[in-house]
């Protein structure tokens, strides 16, 4: 979102419109552009030590993924959050091979 600058000076964000007069940064989605982000979500693993080596074993070969785009008009999930988009998918990983 456009992060308003308090009284158009310094490094503090202004809150009420009466003290906003500038912009510190803008993290909003720019019009007619695509913003791409990538994320690595690791499967849960159990780590055991065997013969002095750490061995990790997956506890499940599936992972339920949820991607949610939230708009927080007042900056927190406690105050009128809006769920804009949602994506769900279960991904599976192979259990053979080494």
């Amino acid at each position: 979102m456009p992060i308003p600058q308090q009284m158009g000076r310094g490094d503090r964000m202004g809150r009420g419109p009466y003290e906003k007069s500038g912009m510190l940064e803008d993290t909003s989605l720019p019009p007619l552009r695509t913003v791409t982000t990538t994320h690595d979500i690791f499967f849960p693993v159990k780590v055991e030590e065997k013969d002095g080596k750490k061995i990790s074993t997956i506890t499940s070969d599936t992972l339920d993924l949820e991607v949610k785009l939230w708009y927080l008009p007042f900056g927190t999930m406690d105050d009128d959050p809006f769920l804009w988009k949602e994506f769900k998918k279960t991904v599976k990983i192979s259990t053979t091979g080494k």
Binding site: G22, V35, F43, L63, L65, K85
Partner: protein
Amino acid sequence: MNRLRTITLAGLMLLTGVATALASPAGIGRDQTIAAQPKANSIAELAARYDSSSCVGCHQQAHDEWAKSLHARSIFGTGRTAATFKTAIVNGAMEWPASGVKGFKDVKVEHLMGCAKCHLPQLSEATDQVAQEIVTTINTWQDALRKEDEATAGKAEKTLSSLNINCLVCHNRNAITHKWSEGYPKKDTVYGSKAGDHMDAKFTKLAKGQIMSESILCGQCHGQGPNFDQENPTQCATLYGSYLFAYVPEGGHKTCQECHMRESKLGHNMQSYRSKAMAEKAVEMHVETNAVYWRDNTTIKPKAAVRIELTNRAGHGIPDG
């Protein structure tokens, strides 16, 4: 001596004439606007001045659509707007040493115009008594809420909601931005898509408004940033700035009205993300995932690689206002 007195008097008269000329605002036709009458002394008077109830008979659908929008309760909003009017006084004007506001009784129209410039532009046509009445009504509403006095809170809400951005604000008062080139909005005229006669006792004429379908109409309020025309600039809306300097340079060419009124089929019920139609149209989300084994020197870590693409199809940054 007499000659000296005559010259002095003539000089004084000339200076007075120059001062009067400087004090009179330029612009031919300003005296034919709704604003060209003595200032309103009460909320009721101001509401009556911009009373658009006579429009409903013929424009029921537009009215019903508008009634669902925040324009219909522009100073009350969801309650947050009214509360912010007050916060702007308590946390703003009362804390600023040169504002002239020490308590609520000191609040004048000019102290509210930071908010009212957009939430109630016609407030500039009211006396400070109206500013006082607005502040008192907001206080009454908040006190009543605290005391769980629903009747009093409801009455105050109704009073505050009687002031709004209605037909006459967009189709008359704010219908002309360039008043020297196109003339001032006339008090007997409704500005819309065509010219001609209008079946109304008070607004007897129709005129084609040059900006009614243009983004600049909306840009008057959904603005560009700090309002430097004010003694203490405020910045509520930056959306028109985003439209001008981000959307258009990306090749965008639609107007506010095209997306928010026509394509959305919401008409005068102008909405943003709370409307399912607008929210779905504005942002596309595309997610790609695949699961892979990643390994470093000593460990193997299975992971899901998630790639998220968000595309903003709106005519401005999201969020913005």
